[in-house]
């Protein structure tokens, strides 16, 4: 099956490539900066680079000097690689995603009590950016944090919180869910610390009495499940994603009338 002959008829999902104005033309636009001085050599360098990315017929539509020694490019071309769309499998957090207001209403209607969560950036990680993005009022990128949700009580313990302290707080406030944030990933420190947390939750006999979630720039739902968490939230996931999952999970587990951990 030659690609050119199918161009105007039907998409072959086993080998898709970008679409400009005709099927399989592979057209892409890319913008980037090279640390080289402005000039014809720079333009040629950009073309060769783009070819190496698998893009044929590169057309440098625009280039200019950003500052001495740096040149910016807008390039168009025809990308060659294809992807088998039919073989794609993305593990997803189950349930419907609702927005902040809908979450509040859903909880009032379906749970009938406040949902309690505790969150922290654990152990050596000093970064609060992740946990703040989810919990703090201000949220992140225009997505408000859990502090601004109705019928949600959220405790943000900040950063460098030992696993033991986070668990103790969850017990103290009868949390429905624990949110563990890990931002630093150098030498896979996040894997070690996330594993330590799971082990301690199990040792405390809490594993099925609390919803355990984690999040961070290098965390996917798939990784979280591998490590023994109920769900994981990576880039592009905000407070509403986290709460949508937690509230539906609370309902699924029948904890509506079990605000106390001891009763679950």
């Amino acid at each position: 099956m030659a690609e050119t002959k199918t161009a105007n008829t039907q998409v072959d999902l086993t080998c898709v490539k970008p679409y400009g104005d005709a099927l399989n033309d592979g057209k892409v636009q890319i913008s980037f900066t090279l640390p080289v001085p402005y000039g014809e050599e720079a333009e040629e360098c950009a073309k060769q680079y783009v070819k190496k990315l698998g893009i044929d017929e590169p057309n440098v539509a625009y280039y200019c000097e950003l500052t001495k020694g740096y040149t910016f490019f807008n390039v168009y071309g025809s990308a060659q690689p294809t992807i088998d769309y039919t073989a794609i499998n993305v593990p997803k957090v189950e349930g419907t995603v609702m927005d902040r207001v809908e979450c509040g209403e859903w909880i009032a209607e379906n749970i009938g009590r406040d949902i309690v969560v505790v969150g922290a950036s654990i152990e050596s990680d000093a970064h609060t950016v992740g946990i703040d993005a989810i919990i703090q009022m201000k949220g992140f990128h225009g997505h408000f944090g859990l502090e601004r949700f109705k019928h949600v009580v959220a405790y943000n313990m900040g950063s460098q919180v030992p696993c033991e302290e986070l668990i103790a707080k969850a017990k103290e406030v009868n949390a429905d869910a624990i949110l563990v944030s890990q931002t630093v990933t150098q030498k896979d420190i996040h894997i070690k610390q996330l594993t330590q947390m799971v082990e301690l939750v199990e040792a405390e006999g809490l594993r099925d009495k609390v919803i355990l979630t984690c999040g961070g720039p290098r965390i996917s739902h798939e990784l979280a499940q591998e490590l023994g968490y109920d769900a994981g939230f990576g880039p592009g996931k905000y407070a509403e994603h986290v709460m949508s999952y937690i509230m539906q999970e609370v309902k699924k587990r029948g904890w509506e009338k079990k605000p106390n951990i001891a009763d679950r």
Binding site: T33, K68, T128, V129, Q136, M137, H141, G142, F144, R148
Partner: protein, 517 residues
């Protein structure tokens, strides 16, 4: 200036009077208290710098020591002055001896307050010489190489590595930036100490340290001479170390500093007593040093609706203005904040933004208004984002804003790349140049959307200020009237660092910084 919005000057005066009363009420509280950070600022201004063997900054060592011994109500100035009298040593040596455990300064024999103050004078004089030299240097640059036209183009650098920041900042200056802000690393605002030395690791920003200030200042002076324009340096006098960073900014010639207690209370959960006391010390420093402070009310619109809550921004600008008056800050150094944050799907939203920006300019005619770009409704669709920024730039030049926080098309994706800054600066320059005198040419329809909106927002701001005056600022914040965020009087970070002044307390710097002559 004739009001294009037909604002009633009586309403403006009324709002301003309420704000003045609010600020004066708060000042009575502030005058009765000090904080660990205020005391550390005094210690720094006496020339103490450096860290101990476990990297604790010496100003922290000194003030923690005084606090542990119960000496804080008397103030660090007295104890340092007394220690000079009793030991004959300089503040730096005294701090080092405390760090080494060789000296307990609250256990020395005590002199009178006058003697202690007298002993501090040579060190205070030395600090003022340094600060005055920096002020003179700035003036010399402005007189010789000059500066860019307003609106100043303000861009951020945020690599985490101060040396990489230098590369980015110099590139931005060559592309047309007038102000470079070095974004701080995440969570520095909650550290109760200022890190020390040059730093190369940060997350989402770079540590504010005195050495990093020095490195960037030097780089901007170099590039400023090259491009023939003084390049202003901005950092954050905010968070738990608000006044200490102001002092560092004074010594290293920063030109613009973010500085807003209410922002810290609402968005960083810093205790309100702590940060309002800290703010006063930082603002007297900022006022003296010719630094423009930027207030942060624009942030209310990231958590609250920009159309519904526009009046809270205006009300907060009035309050910040009056706090600045009490710290003797000239109007030209008041970088009151506001923002272009309405939902772009709003019909006539541009008219409402124009109205709000014009109103800020008319109410605060001499202020160095800081105008923040769209952030909340930037989505990752960089193409639409670039257009949103273009509309923002148009309002900016139309209403004579002073400082343009240049919107980046990649807002909501990453901290700016070099190319993002280029594209955004190009966008701003294109619109500023193409529409330079639009504000002089265009008037607004009497009783039309723009005029009516401004009158309505001003009236609501005046009413809110009347309420705040009645309830007090603390209670207002407890009720969540700003940014929709509630914070308790005794909650948040840093309350343990607040202390009631004792009978013999003194802070020699307040009076000297307040006297600009």
């Amino acid at each position: 200036m004739k009001s294009k919005l037909n604002l009633d000057p009586k309403v403006v005066d009324s709002a301003r009077q309420h704000a003045a009363n609010i600020a004066r009420d708060m000042q009575e509280f502030i005058d009765r208290h000090t904080t660990v950070s205020t005391e550390r600022t005094i210690v720094r201004l006496l020339g103490v710098d450096g860290v101990d063997d476990v990297d604790t900054p010496l100003p922290n060592v000194v003030v923690d020591h005084i606090k542990e011994e119960g000496g804080l109500p008397t103030g660090a100035a007295y104890w340092m002055g007394n220690a000079i009298v009793q030991t004959g040593k300089a503040p730096q040596e005294i701090a080092e001896e405390i760090a080494a455990g060789k000296l307990e300064i609250t256990k020395l024999a005590t002199c009178s307050q006058e003697q202690a103050a007298e002993a501090l004078m040579p060190y205070i004089k030395k600090t003022f010489e340094k600060i005055d030299m920096q002020k003179a240097k700035r003036q010399e640059y402005l007189n010789t190489i000059g500066e860019g036209k307003e609106p100043y183009i303000y861009v951020i650098v945020a690599t985490g590595n101060i040396y990489e920041d230098v590369v980015q900042a110099q590139a931005a200056a060559r592309q047309g930036a007038d102000v470079i802000a070095v974004i701080r690393t995440t969570a520095q605002s909650l550290l109760d100490y200022v890190p020390y030395g040059a730093t190369t690791e940060g997350f989402g920003g770079t540590y504010a340290t005195q050495e990093n200030f020095r490195i960037m200042r030097k780089a901007l002076d170099e590039v400023g001479e090259e491009v023939g324009r003084y390049i202003r340096l901005c950092n954050y006098s905010s968070g738990m170390c608000m006044p200490e960073i102001a002092a560092m900014g004074a010594l290293e010639r920063l030109d613009v500093m973010l500085n807003d207690a209410i922002y810290g209370i609402l968005f960083r959960d810093i205790n309100m007593q702590r940060t309002l006391v800290d703010q006063f010390m930082s603002r007297v420093i900022i006022g003296y040093c010719g630094i423009i402070f930027n207030s942060g009310e624009d942030n209310y619109l990231t958590t609250d609706d920009a159309i519904e809550s526009a009046h809270t921004v205006t009300a907060s600008q009035f309050i910040n203005e009056q706090f600045a008056v009490l710290a003797n800050i000239p109007e030209e150094q008041m970088g009151l904040g506001h923002a272009f944050e309405m939902d772009p799907a709003t019909e006539d939203g541009f008219l409402l933004e124009l109205s709000q920006a014009q109103m800020a300019r008319e109410i605060f005619p001499k202020a160095r208004l800081k105008y923040m770009p769209p952030t909340k409704f930037m989505t990752g669709n960089i193409f639409r984002g670039h257009l949103q920024d273009a509309l923002f730039n148009l309002v900016t030049v139309w209403t004579n804003q002073s400082i343009l926080l240049t919107g980046m098309l990649t807002e909501a994706i990453h901290t700016p790349f070099m190319q993002d800054r280029y594209l955004s600066i190009e966008n701003a320059q294109y619109i500023f140049n193409n529409c330079r005198h639009i504000g002089d040419e265009v008037e607004f329809k009497e009783g039309g959307i723009i005029q009516s909106r401004a009158q309505e927002v001003l009236a609501k701001a005046d009413a809110l200020l009347a309420e705040v005056e009645k309830d007090g600022l603390f209670a207002t914040i407890e009720q969540g009237k700003f940014g929709g965020v509630k914070r308790p009087f005794d909650g948040g970070h840093g309350l343990e660092g607040v202390c009631t002044k004792g009978e013999n307390y003194f802070n020699p710097f307040i009076k000297m910084f307040m006297d600009h002559e």
